[in-house]
């Protein structure tokens, strides 16, 4: 039996299903909160921090991730305050400076309002979003890959770096990986990285109708909850 409760997101009173996260609720109702590591059918780990919102409790507002926050009766959430937008923009700036060689990452940066990148570009091919690890662990239960190492050394790998025979090459990990989506103008070679800033649908959400779902291509290729 589904129970419903009322939550206040950006001033709108929403009829939310008890037990869901604030992020899932917002997406379902067409409020676009940027996210990277969230996939509707996988667990939420709150790693990318892009889905942060302000949760107002007793007159104080706490910045927390909407994917790990469960809805509660009477909750007050603000997804797009100036503070949140600035924080998100800085996070997305860090992200795109780290791994610019992906259309998904470039689109996210544009969506979050990144206009300039003030750090030297790097050209990493993994953003440690954990989508691959979670799909292998939770959907296929193969446990062929996982996070290994700590901090700067953290990376995704097979046990001992060797593909085990219980990896059946289902390629679910590849399908969910944001780094496999090539930039529109082709792959960015080392030394030639830049902030792309071209995608129209992302510009629309970022500037014209902030916070509203426009059924963008990013979401389509990205397993966004609106599509799944």
């Amino acid at each position: 039996m589904l129970q419903y409760i009322n939550v206040n997101i950006d001033g709108a009173i929403i009829h939310a299903t008890k037990g869901t996260s604030v992020l899932d609720t917002a997406i379902e109702y067409g409020i676009c909160i940027p996210h990277l590591c969230h996939v509707p059918y996988l667990s939420d780990i709150g790693a990318c921090r892009l889905c942060i919102i302000e949760h107002v409790v007793n007159g104080r507002s706490n910045v927390t991730t909407s994917c790990t926050l469960k809805v509660e009766e009477g909750m007050v959430i603000m997804t797009s305050t100036d503070k949140i937008r600035k924080l998100r923009r800085n996070l997305a700036e860090l992200l795109v400076a780290q791994a610019p060689n992906s259309r998904a990452i470039q689109d996210i940066a544009l969506r979050c309002g990144v206009k300039e990148v003030r750090y030297p570009f790097r050209n990493e091919d993994c953003v440690l979003c954990g989508r691959c690890v979670r799909v292998c662990t939770e959907v296929w239960k193969a446990r062929a890959i996982g996070f290994v190492g700590r901090g700067k050394e953290r990376h995704v790998d097979f046990p001992f770096g060797i593909r085990p025979d219980f990896c059946k090459r289902c390629e679910s990990c590849i399908q969910l990986c944001p780094m496999t989506i090539t930039p529109c103008d082709g792959p960015m070679k080392p030394g030639k990285e830049r902030l792309c800033g071209n995608c129209e649908s992302q510009l629309i959400i970022a500037e014209q109708t902030p916070g509203s779902c426009v059924w963008c291509k990013l979401g389509e290729g990205f397993a966004c909850g609106r599509y799944v």
Partner: protein
């Protein structure tokens, strides 16, 4: 000794043990803590033990191997009662003299006495040593006279009477009320009101609850918890038992970091001994309270000092923190209500029960009650563990207890609270040691680490040091911590290497602010503090590195040059022979010269030169 089945039996045992020791006239206490062991105190202990046997004094003289007394640089440390005689730097060869002169004849051996570096005079009595005199050693003084591996010592000293009182006449709710009135706040760094945490756990229905002692003590430069756990594990156990009674837990864990093998060993022995007497297990002292404790070892991860990461580690998993939208007091270890407190917090509990909450609350300030143990280290004369009442000004600790700077240098700053804390300049030394006061000033008490820095410490280098540490220890899960610390470190490294640009200072502040607001756990949230506090109080140093490309403290290798002062150099050649890079030339008795191109600034020549002729500019 057999299992104690009631409070009366415990008192009877205590009486018995005290009577057995009636014939002891003298007690010789030798420190067996990690610090003194590094100074070979084990050999001293063996030598004294042999000597006492040889003189057939075993019946009248008690040799007690104690835990740390906090004055590690003076080790091996020996204290003799009666008389409160304090001997330092004792070597095994001194054993005969100590036993023959002091123990048997009551005569003082002058050369073993402590010399006060400020007055130049020797001091005979421990309580009169300036380092100890200005302290209020409520917890640390309990390390005297107690062998951590002897539950008998603990009982003779009055141990487990708080537990007995609680089990026979105080309800769990009353215990929590007492802790609340005392004003006890967490000593691990968070400063969270202890009673509030306990009542949150108590309120959850169900009988599967846990209490945990956080002995991870990852803050570099902090070793208070090591001292208390190594030196008096039963005190911590007793505190945990009282807490378990209050919240309704039946199982507890002491999580000890991997780098403290002696603390692990002593905790295990203490638990075994407590079980042997029935003080852990079913129906403790004949009451309805059943409780047991296990020791869990850390694996070498600073992040495991964070409560959710610690619990993951106890569960055998990687120490990756979880979001804390729900308190661990409600949903913690194995998703059960868990009360996690620091070693020092637990250690305060028995005396609050015995002496009353008003006694505890009579010390300290409005918002911070009781005493706090600090690890005072760095560039001062007296380093060691210091316990002071909350509200004591920083100045008192650094100058009255610490004795001021070494080598005639000027004290520049004090770093408190470890990697989550900040640096405060000398003009802030009138601030009181108080949770809220230090937090307002941009630092924090943290776990109690207090590192004093002088004019030869570069504050930009300090920020770089902490960022390097945090990058090494970050679990890497969340973006702001993993990438944010990396980029902050990249910028600070640019600055120390002479590539700094003025706009980087503003970007540093903006990034620091972003990381502190968006990181998943405490490590990430407080990671920017060293950068923010050094920028706040020592911005001119950053600017000198950027605009003038100079490190006036003489630390940042890219910005300094080693050279020899021809007026001080007498051509002894020691530095020339010591230099592995062949960077020093010169003939005998002639002033030597360093070739700046070959010099790698390794520091060997400087540490060798007896004439202070090596300059760093």
């Amino acid at each position: 000794m057999s299992r104690l089945n009631s409070f009366r039996e415990l008192e009877h045992l205590r009486q018995q043990l005290r009577e057995q020791r009636q014939n002891i006239t003298t007690t010789v206490m030798v420190c067996g803590g990690t610090g003194c062991q590094a100074s070979r105190s084990r050999a001293v202990i063996d030598a004294v033990s042999d000597e006492l046997s040889r003189q057939e004094l075993d019946m009248r003289v008690r040799l007690c191997v104690t835990g740390c007394h906090g004055f590690c640089e003076q080790g091996p440390v020996m204290i003799i009662e009666p008389g409160n005689v304090f001997y330092c730097h004792v070597s095994p060869e001194d054993a005969f003299e100590v036993v023959y002169q002091t123990v048997m004849k009551g005569e003082i051996i002058e050369r073993l006495l402590y010399t006060d570096p400020v007055s130049g005079k020797t001091v005979r009595i421990m309580s009169e040593i300036p380092f100890y005199r200005a302290q209020d050693r409520q917890i640390l003084s309990q390390n005297l006279n107690v062998d951590p591996c002897s539950i008998e010592d603990y009982i003779v000293a009055g141990g487990y009477s708080a537990l007995a009182r609680v089990l026979t006449s105080i309800t769990p709710e009353e215990v929590i009320e007492e802790i609340k009135s005392s004003g006890l706040r967490g000593r691990g760094g968070g400063g969270f009101p202890t009673a509030r945490k306990w009542s949150e756990s108590r309120a959850v229905p169900g009988d599967e609850k846990y209490v945990i002692c956080n002995a991870d003590e990852g803050d570099p430069g902090a070793y208070m918890d090591r001292c208390v756990l190594e030196g008096n594990p039963h005190l911590v156990l007793e505190g945990m038992m009282i807490g378990a009674w209050a919240v309704g837990a039946r199982k507890g864990y002491i999580y000890v970091r991997n780098e403290y093998p002696l603390a692990v060993k002593h905790s295990r022995i203490a638990v075994e001994q407590a079980r042997g007497l029935g003080l852990l297990g079913d129906n403790i002292l004949g009451s309805s309270f059943s409780f047991d404790v296990d020791i869990a070892r850390g694996g070498g991860a600073f992040v495991c000092g964070e409560s959710t990461a610690l619990m993951a580690s106890v569960e055998g998993k990687v120490g990756e923190p979880r979001p804390k939208d729900v308190h661990t007091a409600l949903d913690g270890l194995y998703h059960k209500p868990t009360t996690l407190n620091n070693v020092e917090t637990w250690a305060n509990v028995p005396s609050i029960i015995l002496n009353g909450s008003s006694w505890f609350a009579s010390k300290g300030t409005q918002g911070s009650k009781g005493t706090k143990i600090l690890a005072l280290t760095g560039r001062i004369k007296n380093t060691g563990l210091v316990e002071v009442a909350m509200g004591t000004p920083i100045r008192t600790v650094v100058f009255d207890i610490g004795g001021g700077a070494i080598n005639g240098k000027l004290v520049k700053a004090v770093q408190t609270g470890g990697p989550s804390g900040g640096c405060l300049p000398v003009d802030k030394f009138d601030l009181a040691i108080d949770f809220d006061v230090l937090y307002e000033a941009g630092s924090m008490i943290g776990s109690g680490g207090m590192v004093v820095m002088d004019e030869e410490t570069c504050m930009v280098d300090v920020a770089k040091y902490f960022l390097t540490f945090l990058q090494d220890e970050s679990c890497g899960k969340c973006l702001p911590c993993r990438l944010g610390i990396d980029r902050m470190l990249e910028m600070v490294t640019d600055i120390t290497d002479g590539r700094g640009r003025p706009e980087q200072l503003d970007l540093l502040e903006e990034l620091a602010d972003t990381v502190s607001q968006t990181a998943l756990c405490g490590l990430g949230k407080t990671a920017p503090n060293p950068v923010l506090s050094t920028l706040r109080y020592f911005r001119p140093e950053y600017e000198a590195h950027i605009r003038e490309k100079k490190c006036y403290a003489g630390v940042c290798k890219a910005l300094i040059t080693y050279s020899i002062d021809p007026d001080k150099c007498n051509g002894c050649g020691v530095c020339l022979r010591g230099c592995v890079y062949g960077a020093i030339t010169g003939s005998k008795k002639q002033a030597h010269v360093i070739d700046a191109q070959l010099c790698q600034k390794c520091g060997i020549c400087r540490s060798e030169c007896k004439f202070d002729a090596i300059q760093v500019v």
